[in-house]
């Protein structure tokens, strides 16, 4: 074990030559999982280098316009999409990763999901009982708590009212937030500094404990010497433009990849297909495709006020979907509204009386893969929505419509091609659940991606074990949503952090 150094953060303007660093552990990716590992290991006295390709964002760097914000904080300008079934998806590029621009939802994986993981994937220590201490530790550090009514706003409370009227369960969403003012700006960066994204929580704590945080560094290869990894190498890249400049290398006794489900496989593939004895690196790509409906109420809703996503319902979680409220920059929400011309303008004018509610679906049969592209670190994503998963999305839309009308909506805008653009009552909306429309009629997107370096008890069928340790290569760990053997059915961040916490404690003991 080396003594931990003096903590620091380095930014693009500070790199003026090629350089090499040494550390006990190099962590690739400062999103929720990588930040937890870096902080816990630094606090345990290990010498940690945390690498991040994106820059740190200050409040002065936040842009309120949705598309511009996405172009600055997301890879590929926020316009990434899968091939096969075309579906928009995103990955952040910023210190703190996706936590900078997500809505801070912290949901523990349901018991049945963890039981399923253990049963199907030969896991022995990933039950509720095993993970709860790690969830608890993260929850305490971030102050995760249910969203208070004071900042729910009408559009969240109407969802609660609708669920209550139907006798369906619902609850305030637990979030990693302290002092939320209900500005609804989670997706463009929290101006209120309330969201405990990694850049304002775990990363500063890691630095306090001695970690070196190097930003604007793109890792391109994991270096190995036979069956041991020895570090990583890559290049300095300019914020936003990604133009390369100097080279760097970090020599370390242990490498932790936490670059995200869509980036970690690319790094491994670009490292001479490292850690792929199972043939599973980049395979099994799953998403939580999300569908949404806008409902218009008779009275003003003032949807710009309230927690971005403040209420949820797990009533149908075993049927394959989770229900949530949603707000986003108006321009982003409006992209899915139907029509154009004066009709579209009329619909836009109704947004102040509207709410948007969504469902994220567990579509286990819909699979894809991640492949490295020549000359780029961006992934080539292929994914196919399985026909047998389409009924889950249809069911979800029908349920959202039910909640809207139960809450008093005067109409809904479902956004399904081939169906009426506007529906005025439950009878009219029944077609959402009973219709035979296919996946191409739906508008969906997903920011939750999983399984591309899945954990499995059998080394022939998985890339890592339950601790995130590579089955093939010594001292290589992976801790991001790629290690999930299946999707979580709920928002994945919290589970990723719990698993990362477990990996960090294991590493602190081992190194």
């Amino acid at each position: 074990m080396s003594a931990a150094g003096s903590g620091e953060v380095r930014v693009f303007a500070q790199y003026d030559r090629d350089f090499t660093e040494q550390a006990d552990v190099v962590v690739v990716g400062s999103g929720p999982c990588g930040s937890v590992v870096a902080k816990e290991l630094a606090c345990a006295g290990r010498d940690v280098v945390l690498l991040e390709e994106g820059p740190p964002f200050t409040p002065a760097d936040f842009v309120l316009d949705g598309a511009t914000s996405m172009a600055r904080t997301m890879r590929e300008g926020g316009l990434r999409a899968t091939r096969g079934t075309v579906m928009p998806t995103m990955q952040a590029i910023a210190l703190g990763g996706g936590s900078l621009v997500n809505s801070a939802i912290c949901a523990r994986a349901p018991d049945f999901v963890l039981d399923d993981w253990c049963e199907r994937f030969s896991l022995e220590a990933t039950t509720r009982r095993d993970l709860d201490p790690h969830y608890d530790a993260v929850e305490k550090f971030l102050g995760i708590a249910p969203t208070p009514d004071a900042v729910q706003g009408q559009r969240n409370l109407l969802f609660r009212d609708g669920c209550d009227a139907l006798g369906w369960s619902s609850e305030p969403i637990a979030r990693n937030v302290r002092g939320c003012r209900g500005s609804g700006e989670c997706f463009t960066g929290c101006r209120a500094r309330a969201k405990q994204s990694m850049d304002v929580s775990y990363v500063p704590a890691a630095i306090r404990a001695g970690a070196r945080v190097l930003t604007s560094l793109q890792v391109q290869r994991v270096l190995s010497d036979g069956r041991r990894v020895t570090g990583v190498e890559g290049q300095v890249v300019a914020p936003f433009r990604g133009s390369p400049s100097h080279r760097f290398r970090v020599d370390a006794r242990c490498v932790v990849l936490a670059a995200g489900c869509m980036a970690t496989p690319v790094i491994l593939q670009k490292s001479d297909d490292l850690a792929n004895g199972s043939g599973q690196v980049g395979e099994n790509l799953q998403f939580h495709p999300g569908v949404s409906i806008m409902g218009v109420f008779p009275d003003p809703v003032s949807p710009q006020f309230g927690a971005t996503q403040g209420y949820q319902s797990l009533q149908f979680i075993r049927d394959g979907f989770k229900l949530e409220t949603l707000w986003a920059p108006p321009g982003v929400l409006a992209t899915r509204l139907p029509g154009f011309g004066h009709a579209l303008k009329h619909t836009l004018a109704e947004i102040p009386r509207a709410a948007v509610w969504d469902a994220i679906a567990s579509t286990h049969r819909s699979l894809g893969r991640v492949r490295a592209r020549r000359g780029s670190m961006d992934p080539a994503l292929t994914w196919h929505l399985h026909p047998e998963d389409v009924p889950i999305l249809r069911h979800a839309l029908a349920v959202i419509a039910e909640i809207f009308f139960a809450a008093g909506a005067e109409k809904i805008v479902p956004g399904v091609h081939g169906l009426p653009e506007v529906m005025h009552d439950r009878d009219e909306a029944r077609v959402l659940g009973s219709g035979s429309y296919g996946g191409k009629a739906l508008t969906f997107a997903s920011t939750h991606a999983f399984c591309t370096t899945r954990m499995h008890g059998d080394p022939r069928q998985g890339v890592v074990d339950e601790l995130g340790r590579s089955h093939d290569v010594e001292n290589l760990y992976i801790t991001d949503t790629g290690t999930y053997p299946r999707c979580t059915s709920v928002n994945p961040m919290f589970t990723g952090m719990a698993l990362a916490h477990r990996t960090a404690l294991h590493l602190a003991e081992r190194l």
Partner: protein
């Protein structure tokens, strides 16, 4: 000889139809070419015509300028795809003409009703890629429409002004592109609130970037 002359004439005619005769684009556009600017302006006003429930038109809301800046921000591959989309939709009517005797022209040379008919064809097509192309175009232009503070003010959706507290992280990171010396805050600046901050005040002032300019029309 004659066939080659005919082929040459057809090719020449096609090149003229595609590349020549675009109006001069507004000043200040850096990325959009003449033809692209003409298409984006025509599509913007077809999607968002003047008047109606939200008065500014697409061009009044500055969509062409927004798209120009947006092209500058996205990665080269994405930029190429967007340009291909503009090119495709601008010239598709040379092969699949708009209704009427003057429909065999590029999109930006059609009249308003013809543009609407063409976009409607894309929007409701049973052929998924055609529909997807329309959805992609509308998404980019819609985000441009909503980037206009006037549009957001008219809808009552403009962001509010509120104080951003200083936290520990603000002592660590300089603004993007700046060296650490540009960090403006010191430890004594860190906010230490004694109570949770109040919820957002919907009667409060708008964010400075979204306020009505002095002397603006009522």
């Amino acid at each position: 000889m004659v066939p080659w002359v005919l082929v040459g004439a057809v090719v020449g005619y096609g090149l003229v139809r595609v590349f020549v005769g675009h109006p001069t684009p507004p000043a200040g556009l850096g990325r959009l070419g003449r033809g692209e600017a003409a298409f984006v302006a025509a599509a913007a006003d077809a999607l968002y015509p003047p008047g109606g429930a939200v008065p500014p038109s697409g061009c009044e809301a500055g969509i062409p300028g927004y798209v120009d800046r947006y092209l500058d921000r996205v990665p080269p591959q994405t930029r190429g795809l967007m340009r291909a989309l503009f090119f495709l939709m601008q010239h598709a009517t040379l092969f699949f003409p708009a209704p009427g005797p003057t429909g065999f022209r590029r999109f930006s040379s059609l009249d308003h009703d013809q543009r609407v008919a063409v976009l409607s064809g894309w929007a409701t097509s049973r052929f998924f890629p055609r529909r997807f192309a329309f959805t992609s175009l509308r998404a980019v232009l819609t985000m441009g429409y909503f980037a206009d503070p006037e549009v957001l003010r008219r809808l009552g959706l403009a962001p509010y002004a509120f104080e951003t507290p200083v936290c520990e992280a603000d002592l660590l990171y300089p603004p993007i592109g700046s060296p650490p010396e540009a960090i403006a805050h010191r430890p004594e600046d860190v906010s230490r609130p004694s109570a949770p901050p109040p919820p957002l005040d919907l009667d409060g002032p708008l964010h400075p970037d979204y306020r009505e300019p002095a002397g603006a029309r009522p």
